[in-house]
Amino acid sequence: MPEFFHRKIERSAIGFAIAIIAAASVGGIVEIAPLFTIDETVEQAADMRVYTPLELAGRNIYVREGCYACHSQMIRTLRDEVERYGPYSLAVESQYDRPMLWGSKRTGPDLARIGGKYSDFWHVAHLTNPRDVVPESNMPAYRWLARTALKVDDLPLHLAAQRALGVPYTEEMVENAVRDAYGQATPDTGFAAG
């Protein structure tokens, strides 16, 4: 009986194509659509804020260099991960992340809670040559980052694009994005007065 039915749909190219689309659509619809409607998917957290323009520019370097290929930013709910890297990651922490950078491979350690753990001086030395500070490391050296100027003049466009997607940047934040970035990078100058 099923064979008889199949012999029929095998005779129609369009019918077969429609059957494929129907069979293949169910899984995605059931698993993805509710993530937007079930409130518990993303927890409420009072102290979450958007990335500052400078943070966004830095995140875009991480994206550009493909750091996700070796580093995760997702601490799983496992005892050894929590003890090694810190509290497990919550969905709300990546609510403004486009794209998410949870990663899939740890050739290097997880970076979700690395912020603030090391000094800026350490990071500069580490990026210049990782083996100067961690002799066993196999991370690439990023000396050329120090030779390359950061492009900041288009930051308002970046913020505006994010705003169009629903990230709660205000009109004012978009307008002042460049000044804001300079201010955060050089806190002892007039830019920071703002």
Binding site: E3, R7, E10, A13, A17, I20, I21, A23, A24, V26, G27, G28, V30, E31, I32, L35, F36, T41, V42, Y62, R64, E65, G66, C67, Y68, A69, S72, M74, R76, L78, D80, E83, R84, Y88, S89, A91, E93, S94, Q95, Y96, R98, P99, M100, W102, G103, S104, K105, T107, G108, E136, S137, N138, P140, A141, W144, T148, D154, L157, A161, Q162
Partner: protein, 546 residues
Amino acid sequence: MVAQLTSGERRLAIVILVLVAMAGVAMAVAGRADPMGVHGLIVIVCCVGLIYVVLEAFYAPEPSPERLDRYYDDPIKVGIVLSMAWAVFGMFMGVWVAAQLAWPDLAFDAAWSSFGRLRPTHTSGVIFGFGGNGLIAASFHVVQRTSRARLAGQVSPWFVLLGYNLFCVLAVSGYLLGVTQSKEYAEAEWYADAWLVIVWVTYFVLYVATIARRKEPHIYVANWYFMAFILVVAILHIVNNLAVPVSWGHAKSYTIWPGVQDAMVQWWYGHNAVAFFLTAGFLGMLYYYLPVRAQRPIFSYRLSILSFWGITFFYMWAGSHHLHYTALPHWVQTLGMTFSVMLLVPSWASAGNALLTLNGAWHRVRDDATLRFMMAAAVFYGLSTFEGSFMAIRPVNSLSHYTDWTVGHVHAGALGWVALITFGSFYTLVPALWKRERMYSAALVEVHFWLAIAGTLIYAFAMWNSGIIQGLMWRTYTEEGALAYSFVDSLVAMYPYYIARAFGGLLFLLGTVVGCYNMWMTVRAAPLAAVRASDVPVVPAAVPGE
């Protein structure tokens, strides 16, 4: 090849190329302060080169109208050549990035050559360049032979093939320039993605139109898989790549999917790129070339139906197993795990169907390395689908995730299954398309086979070992209840395996180079075959199965 087009078709080709070149000019102008400008120039150069090729034969005599009574094999030949070229490129990049993990200074202090930029050139190069061109070529061949009809277009097959390669070039060159979405296996930016949609829709229309012209009442099973491949990849590609560009002159875009939803969409895409690009499409190859080469019909028609619909339905649920123990809701993880385990049934139905087809032809498997490529591919397919279902089980995944075990699993599938079935198919196709009696050297096919098997096994064993050691070291506690190893301790333990893995990859690359040489010499030097009945559509071709 251009001479096989009528003058009207040649004009159409020029018009299309000029339009695409104009899009390139627009990109070069709008993106002059951005890497997009470089991409505009690449588009212009590609189009001008092709315009030159068309113009060279523009006033060649009209082709004979009888061309429409023959199969359209020119795009298939070019597809095979492109596929092998991408294979050498992509696998070389793989060996290079593998070596960088053991010797990090092999990046030579340049921006474009750091691991993070090279790694996607390897993955895109082999998956989309080598695999995708192989699939387009094989699908064009299989659909014509099993439908006993010529492709339903003269210019559109070229548009699909060359347009697709333009996408690959934009993707790979973009990574070197720092143009990437950092979405795994979907790194190409918005304009390349949009271009691929145009190419892919043309591909689908061409494919269905060709099937609609078939002289056979039924659509052969290989075509089910190729249709699923084309259709579902289109859905996945469009949904996962929906993004808002920073401006029309920026290569950079922001995906419309935020955080946890992006993670789910990304792995729904990522896992089904494995399912419908690297599995369904290549099963289409398997279901045609294996029975043809073994000269045996497919073992079971019912098993084909079961495995086809099982794969098409179950796979789409499985992506969330990439996100066990993460911030993705638990219920989605559980669904992903459940369907991943169930997937073993249709996967093994396919692998079993292929291997049982060889009953009565095992002496050919022994004597013919080409058929042995396909047999080994079916075995690796069975092994890696078992491994995949196993790794999708939550507690197993707690150990394997984030480690080299995943990398080993992927390569057992990509080298052992995808590449081996492609080489087996190519060794069947090349003599047939270039009308040679046989491959230039059967001994070199044999050499390629053993290099490929040795490379795959060394690679997979190295990564299984390193992955499991890594996973265990991360979770080992001292008797006092503290973590026993620092992260760096686990990294130090990896170095011997990283060297072994690079060596395994190198063997596999050498095999591919041997294959290229053998194919090249076949085209140049192998003796010509007499025209066979199966070379013309009107005569019943040897259609396997049913």
